[in-house]
Symmetry: D2
């Protein structure tokens, strides 16, 4: 059994290794286990944490004119990059604690969105699907 | 050159295809282009949209006792799965518009976090690193 | 006309002065004018700022068990008090820029809520009105 | 002492009745009591609810250019008015459950803000006080 896993693992690596999501999910699990943080990582708490990180991201755009946000100066961009990372890490951790596969959830949602926003109706408008 | 790319691409596929992030990023780009939505997808607006989606996720936990959030009933879980997908999709889209590589940003942040929260100090406590 | 207003105003003062909302609204206006901040105080930006302040408030409850949140230690309570103030100040400022009377809006909403959540249906349940 | 309070209270009423905050706070208390909702109204839950309402407010500005947000069309304005009311009601309720006086907290914060942002430094800039 252990032997079989080793072989699978070797094959995986020769195919380019596991997906980035899987790599981050495992790293976050180990990070939490080492610190005995599973006791705090209840989905309700992680959803709050995610929301706090998104606000830290949003804060960078608070007084910025719309257009300027498309071309951030390097210092600001580095800060935003770090906030984006925080959001992703909590998102992956939350999905893991709920045993939800983020990638397949996102793929399913893309299909739903393409039905909610058919090209001929949604083209060039920012209206919500309920108002199309 | 074109020939070389084709070969690389073929090899990529034989190694299991592109990473999920890359796949979703491309799909979202195409989705926006087809609908002429790039005009709305300014980072400031996408950060707002991300924040709105996270709140829709959080709403599911609003009146729920902490512990119950660890074992959602199937109907609730399906709704939460869809909200998680929305968050991921806006996050990937926002990172793409800022030309930021989410996966490397997250990997870098894991390194920072492991310094901020060394195991011997952070073990078993939910205190912020500034209070460790 | 000016004379009549002066009289009304004098009467208001003799009745104990303006309402707290009115006092804060005026103080915030003056604060912004003195700093030439009206150029930044577009409703979209103020709504973002409000959202950032609410997240700073929420952060205090991030890893806290539900029940503990009902009895904050004094230091934490003082921090939370300051965040609540920030939320109120941005809320009043945003309403002012939109020329919306918060107090009458809240009174109207109380009437709507009492219809959405009639006592005999809503008693003892946290379900949303759409699920009652 | 009790006699004196009664007199003050009577004077308050003859001066135009209680403050709007006090009126709303009492109305919200009664609303919750009638529905047996105090069991759900833990500060952590109310802070989440507040955050969800602010996001519903923010959603109205999601794809709206900055400048347009200063002049909302009537239908949109009515929706925004209702969201502002929701935010205020949860804010007052949360402060009440924490036994915090919102008005004095806001007045104290105005003093802090005028020190953080002295006119000669803050005039015409949207920089955070830490960067002034």
């Amino acid at each position: 059994m252990a032997r079989r896993r080793a072989t699978d693992s070797k094959r995986a690596r020769s195919r380019g290794g596991p997906d980035s999501f899987e790599t981050l999910r495992s790293a976050l699990r180990q990070f939490a286990t080492e610190r005995d943080w599973d006791q705090f990582h209840l989905p309700k708490n992680l959803a709050i944490a995610l929301s706090v990180e998104v606000a830290e991201l949003l804060e960078h755009f608070q007084w910025m004119p719309d257009r300027e946000s498309a071309a951030l100066p390097p210092g600001k961009r580095a800060e935003v990059r770090e906030e984006l990372a925080d959001v992703l890490l909590y998102l992956i951790r939350l999905a893991d604690k709920l045993d939800i596969d983020l990638v397949s959830a996102a793929a399913d949602k893309m299909v739903i969105n393409s039905k909610k926003y058919p090209v001929h109706k949604a083209r060039g408008t920012s209206r919500k699907y309920t108002d199309l």
